[in-house]
Amino acid sequence: MTDIAAARLKKRHAAETRFRVYGRTAIIIALSFLALLMGRIGMQGYSTFTTNTVSLSVYLDPARIDAGDLEGSNFDYVVALALLKKMGETDDDYGTNASEAMDLVSRDLGFQILNRLKAEPGLLGKTITVTGPMKANADLYYKGQLKRETAQADRRLNNHQLDWLDRLKADGDVKSGFNVAFFTHADSTEPEQAGILGAVMGSAMMLLVTALIAVPMGVLAAVWLEEFAPKNRWTDIIEVNINNLAAVPSIVYGLLGLAVFINWLGAPRGAPLTGGMVLALMALPTIIIATRSALKAVPPSIREAALGVGASRTQTVFHHVLPQAMPGVMTGTILSLAHALGETAPLLMIGMIAFNPGIPEGFTSSASVLPVQVFIWENASERAFHERTAAAIIVLLVFMIAMNAAAVILRRRFERRW
C-alpha cells in the first residue's frame, strides 16, 4: 500500500471514530437532560402521594351545634375546640387559639361531622372520633418542607402551632399514608383537598372527542388525497396548505375555536366538547400527513395485485392498502393525540382556565384538563400547590406513556394480522 493510501485510510478511520463519539455525546447530553427533568419533577412531586391524617375525638356540644340548622353551625370551631382540649388548652377571648388550631386541621373533618349528624341526629351531645387530612401547611411540616429553623415571621405556622403538631405526632394521633384524596377529588381551594381526578376525566373526555373527530376525518382525507384525488393544481394547493396548517401555532387554533365554535356556533365555553373540537382541528393536519406517508410506503405492487384480480379502487384501498398502512396510521394518530393531550394554550383561549371543583358531568359542562390544571396550580400562591403541580405533571406523563404503550401494542397486533 502506498503512503498516501495508508494516510487516507487512517484519516477515514479517524473520521469514523470522531463521528461515533459525536453521536454518543449527543445521546448522553439528551438523556442527561431528560433525567434532570424527570428527576426534578419526581423529587418535587413524589411527596404529594403521601399525606398525613389526624384522628380527633370531638364532643358534639349541643350548645354550639344548632340541631334545627345543621348547615349554619360552625363545625370548624367545634373541631378546633376538640384539638385545643386534647392539648389541654382552651380558646381565649379573641378566638386566637381556636383559629390557630383551625389552621392545622382540614375543614374536611367539619364536613364529615355535618354529614354524620345529618344521617344520625342522635349523635348530638355525644363524643365521636373523626379522621381527616391535616391542613396543607401542617402536612408540609410533617414532610419536612416547612422547617422550625426558619424564622417564625417567614413561615406560615408559629412556634405554638408547631409544638401542637409535635405533640400530635408524639401521641400517635397523626398517621402518614397514601394520598387517596389526590386521586379521588377534583380541584379545590384547599390544597389538601385538591385532587387530579377532575382533570384526568376532563382530559379523557376531551381526547375522546378529539379522536372521534380527527381520526376518521384525517384518515379519510388522507386516503382521498393519496389514492383518489386527481393530481392537479387544486390538489397541490390543498396539499401545501395542509402542510402549512401543521406548522400553525396552537394558540391560533384557540382563537379560531373562540371565534367560530364559541362566538359563532355557540359551543359551550370551557367544555370538553369545545376543547376536543379545537384540538381535533390541530391534530388533523398531523394525522393527514402521517397517514399519507404511511399510504405512500405501501408498495404499488399490492395495488396492482388487487386491481389485477378485478378489485375496484375502493376495494383495493380498503381491503389491502389501508390495512397495510395501519401501523403507520396508528403511530401518527396516537402521537398527534398525545401532542393534543399536552396542549394548553388553545384551551386557555376557549375558557378552560376556570376553577372546577367537581368532576365534569358531561361533554358540554365546564371541565379542567391536566395541562391546564398544572398551569393553574403552578400559579397558586399556597406552597402546597407546588408539590401538587409536580404530581400533576407526573400523572400527565403517566397518561402519555400509557397512550404510547397502547400505540405500540396496537401496532404489534395490526402488524401480525395476515
Partner: protein, 277 residues
C-alpha cells in the same frame, strides 16, 4: 494435500416437450386495431395492430422500453390507473371493444387476469390470497364452494401439493417461485379467459422458472396467455406465437417457429441474434 471437489451439474428442468403446434391455428381471441398510447406528450406505442389467438401462448419480445409491457397493460386497462396515460384505438375481445364506455374495467380485469414481474401476493394467508378474487366477484355462494375453488385453482397452478397443509400461513412466507405460482392461482380463481404475464420469471431462479414454464404450457389448454419476456429462450420454449416490438412499434408477428427460424424483418433478425437490444 489434495483438494477434492465434486461438481454436480445443476439439474435444470425445462418445460416438457417444447412442441409449439402451429398445425392447429387457434381462432382469434383479441384483435387489436391501431393502438396508440401516450404518457403525457410522449408517445409510447405507435399504431399497433395484431391478432392474439385464444388457447395459445403469445410472447411479446423486444428490447427494454420498447412498449411491450405498456401494450400488455392495455389489454386489461391497467393503464387507466396511471395518471397522464392515454390510450387510443380499438382492442376487440370476443367482438366487443374493451375501451368502450359500457365496459366496466373491474369486470374486464376479472376476465383478463394478470401476473406481474415480481411476485406480489397479498400479505394475507395463502387461502385468502386465492379466495379474495372469487369473494369480491361473488363467484362462490358458500364456504364449501369457496374452498373448492381455492383447491382447484391451487391444483391448476401446481401448488396444491406443496401448500395444502399450511393454507393459513402467510402467502409472503413462500419461496419466490411458489409465490409466483400462488399469484397465478389467484388469477385463475376468478375464471379468466385471458392471462397476461409481465416477465413472470425475471425474478426467479432457473428451477422455479422451469416450473412456471411447465405451468404455462399446461394452462394454454384452457386460457389465452400473453407473456412479455426478455428471454429469447423462454419465448421459444413456451410460446406458439411471437410478436416483436421495437421503439414503440410492432415490427413483426407470426408463429414462434417462423420468427425464430426465418424472420422476415432484418430488425427481428438482429434482435434475435443479439445485434440490437
Amino acid at each position: 494435500m489434495v483438494m477434492t471437489m465434486t461438481l454436480k451439474p445443476p439439474v435444470i428442468r425445462t418445460a416438457a416437450p417444447h412442441s409449439h403446434h402451429p398445425a392447429t391455428p387457434q381462432p382469434t381471441k383479441i384483435s387489436v386495431r391501431d393502438i396508440n398510447v401516450f404518457y403525457g406528450e410522449k408517445q409510447a406505442l405507435n399504431s399497433i395492430s395484431v391478432e392474439i389467438p385464444g388457447k395459445a401462448v403469445t410472447a411479446f419480445i423486444g428490447p427494454s422500453g420498447c412498449g411491450k409491457s405498456t401494450f400488455l397493460r392495455c389489454i386489461n386497462r391497467m393503464n387507466d390507473t396511471i395518471a397522464g396515460c392515454r390510450v387510443e384505438g380499438q382492442i376487440v375481445m370476443d367482438g366487443q371493444d374493451i375501451n368502450d364506455r359500457s365496459i366496466d374495467p373491474v369486470v374486464l380485469r376479472a376476465k383478463v387476469g394478470m401476473v406481474f414481474q415480481k411476485p406480489n401476493p397479498f400479505p394475507k394467508s395463502i387461502f385468502e390470497n386465492v379466495a379474495y378474487g372469487p369473494r369480491i366477484h361473488g363467484i362462490a355462494s358458500n364456504k364449501q364452494d369457496l374452498e373448492g375453488i381455492v383447491e382447484a385453482s391451487l391444483k391448476k397452478a401446481g401448488l396444491w401439493a406443496e401448500v395444502s397443509d399450511r393454507l393459513n400461513q402467510p402467502g409472503t412466507s413462500l419461496s419466490g417461485g411458489q409465490q409466483q405460482r400462488l399469484v397465478i392461482a389467484r388469477a385463475i380463481a376468478v375464471n379468466p379467459e385471458v392471462i397476461l404475464m409481465d416477465e413472470p420469471c425475471s425474478a426467479l431462479d432457473p428451477i422455479a422458472t422451469a416450473r412456471v414454464e411447465e405451468l404455462i404450457d399446461e394452462l394454454r389448454q384452457q386460457f389465452c396467455i400473453v407473456i412479455v419476456t426478455h428471454s429469447m429462450a423462454q419465448a421459444a420454449r413456451v410460446s406458439q406465437r411471437t410478436v416483436f416490438f421495437h421503439m414503440g412499434e410492432l415490427i413483426e408477428s407470426g408463429s414462434t417457429e417462423e420468427i425464430f427460424t426465418n424472420p422476415r424483418e432484418p430488425r427481428t433478425q438482429d434482435y434475435i441474434t443479439g445485434r440490437i437490444g
